[in-house]
Amino acid sequence: MLNFPDRRAGLSFFAARLLIGLIAGLVPSLSRAEYALNLPAPASDLAQSIYDLHTLILWICLVILLVVFVPMAIALVKHRKSAGYQAAKFHDNLLVEIIWTIIPVLILFFMARPAASLVVSMKDTTKEDLTIKVTGYQWKWEYEYLGDNIRFMSNTSTPKEQIEGSQPKGENYLLEVDRPLVVPAGKKVRLVMTSSDVIHAWWVPAFGVKQDAIPGFIRDSWFKVDKPGTYRGQCAELCGVGHGFMPVVVEVVPPEQFASWKKEQIAMAATAAANANKTYGMAELKALGEKVYSANCAACHQPDGAGLPGAFPALNGSKIVSGDKSGHIDIVLNGKPATAMASFGKQLSDLDIAAVVTYERNSWNNKTGDVVQPADIAARRK
């Protein structure tokens, strides 16, 4: 892209040459897909428009770069003291100053126009086909299909072993979840976003959507994707220790498939409700509890329950965990204000909380022998 003749070789022109060299040095190895140089392939019209706008601006910048730095390069080569060049004396020219003030104004106007109309269409969340409420939690997303009684959590599903290097990393390392957001292809999906704790940002690059999820406030955004497929993104706003482990995965499916998926979800919710009063055994609860623990608790309290001294308390041998059941249940349900301990009452079902409390009370060195049932949780919720 930048290609200046070699005769200008001279230490003076180092900066441009350096960049060119850097780019040129990288280009031969670009055959590997890992060297992505540009925005990802757009999947929505908005993302396509953003892509095109970015390309346009890049070309304009390149032209300006040449207009400014070719003369500088010439000066650095030709007007050198070592070449015996005598300095001129001029130091002012009103006309030139006016010209190089006005031209940039015009260029900026030219840049701002397409950007402005794109802003307006990005902000237009009307005429949606369906609305999904997205809630950020430390460190997972909750999706709620408004009007359809479907609500679930989406956790990262990359195993800890892969992160710590004891297992080879999978293809979608850090960009995979247990339950993706499922949306119909070709429909305008409106997202209303909020957060239950700190600020997060929901981002799928291929859609051109990035929106902060702000606790106590609702913001909205939208996308329409025609091509079915799996699209991946991540939380974009620093939200604590788990920030790097908070992926977003969206499955775009044909509308018919979406309808049958919805039915399935509603049926699953009914089964779960029917199980609410069931009584479970210790082994069953501990097995489920371990899963809930590693998805929700292990990031701070650590898989071995040791916590991180000073930042996150240990659960192994903790007074709360080995003390009275109800105190333990309450802190899980309601959290602890002004700390990172969130309230899980709204995030997890009675069964999940019963399982994780049972697991914590009977793991590591904690041997209370208590079996906590979903009904116990329901009782503490009041």
């Binding site: 130091h91 701002a112 950007a115 990035k210 106590g216 620093l238 790097g244 930042a311």
Partner: protein
Amino acid sequence: MNTTTINGAAAHHDHDHDHAPAGIMRWLTSTNHKDIGTLYLWFSLFMFFFAGALAMVIRAELFQPGLQLLQPNVFNQLTTMHGLIMIFGAIMPALVGFANWQVPLMIGASDMAFPRLNNWSFWLLPAAGTLLIASFFVPGGAIAGGWTMYPPLFMQGGIAYDMSILAVHILGISSIMGAINIITTILNMRAPGMTLMKMPLFVWTWLITAYLLVAVMPVLACAITMLLTDRHFGTHFFDAAGGGDPIMFQHIFWFFGHPEVYIMILPSFGIVSTVIPTFARKPLFGYVSMVYAVASIAFLSFIVWAHHMFTTGMPVAGQLFFMYATMLIAIPTGIKVFNWVATLWRGSISFETPMLFSLAFVFLFTIGGFSGLVLALVPVDIQLQDTYYVVAHFHYVLFSGSAMSIMAGVYYWLPKWTGHMYDEKLGKLHFWLTTIAFNVTFFPMHFLGLAGMPRRIPDYSLQFTDFNKIASLGGFLLGASQLLFLYVVIKCVRGGEPAGNRPWDGADSLEWTQTSPPPYHSFVTPPLVK
């Protein structure tokens, strides 16, 4: 660095009637602008290495995907403290150090207007620096929510968060006092005949910067005080549950934060505008328009803050206003770049180390300006906000902008400050290593950001591996190269070829009429400027 005086031999200079205490008391009690400038510069260099070392650890962790060296909470502490210390501990004190040394010398004043205030401004810094460094060792570790300290995340930390609030308060007080001192000195103590429009451009940029500091440091102080009361005294400024608004913090913070960006770059413009005419042997082109450009940038810096917040979800009108206002900054900035190029045009150019750094500054800062323009466009910013593209952008304006202009200034004025020439060969080597390593480190980050890598993550998905490896290798070289800088500076302080009054034949401001090093009290009789 003033070896003559370090050795207690200040009396060699006939001008010196001062009986300054020797040894440590000289530095603790000094009210001399040169000593205080030296203290600022050494403090800044120490902090530069400390925060740089944090960056080395960050790059080591990011060398490959997976968690190898650090737990995520430690990683977040390192990124947060790297940013906070580089900004408040390295860049700002270095520029104030330049102001201390150079402003009185360049306007023909004998010292700063308030010498005791000056001493106090400096000696607050080590206190704040100690608090910041000590915060790594308290239970829970240092602050880990990003240098921008956004609530509600900021509410979740331990004692280190309060220590950092206190440290930033102290740094703010120091900056405000330093700024008042600089404003008073420039407005009242110029040599007879030096009208405002005859001041060297470096002095102009610092005058305007000092006004920015006075205007926005109190705003930062308010923001962090509100954080403190939210944390401990039951207020709910930023807590929606109590009727507050977390986004309000971002508005207040960036109302400080954007002018802060210019606080770190305007004096750099001043340094580069001093160095380029010297080595082009030709007066600065468009002096008057340069002054107006700096003033307009300073004004615009107050009305663009929300471009840091496009993804928070502002109304259309808000997004458009801040987009247009941000794009306007390109105009005065462009004028400055054009003027530098016009200064070079038909000059008689030579390439000493300060000039190399200044030329690199013009080119690389412009790259940072272009990426700034890309980020100003709301739709593109939505894609790039909080990605490595932003990390690339602000390192192009803060490292190849501020930090490299500071290096240019150090090489330019070291002969004046120490009386010795620095080692030109090593200086050039330092320059080339720094520039190459800088680009290898940060240029690939543009690609990482475009491809979708969020910033502030301790681990990343596999498609980002290769560019991260390159960036890490570049980063290690960049860090190591700065040891050479330290060596060159120490070598120059300890000795070297005598510099003479005016080692640069193209330099014409007042400091070059003084001996090198200048007498402990320079311009006891003010010079007459025609």
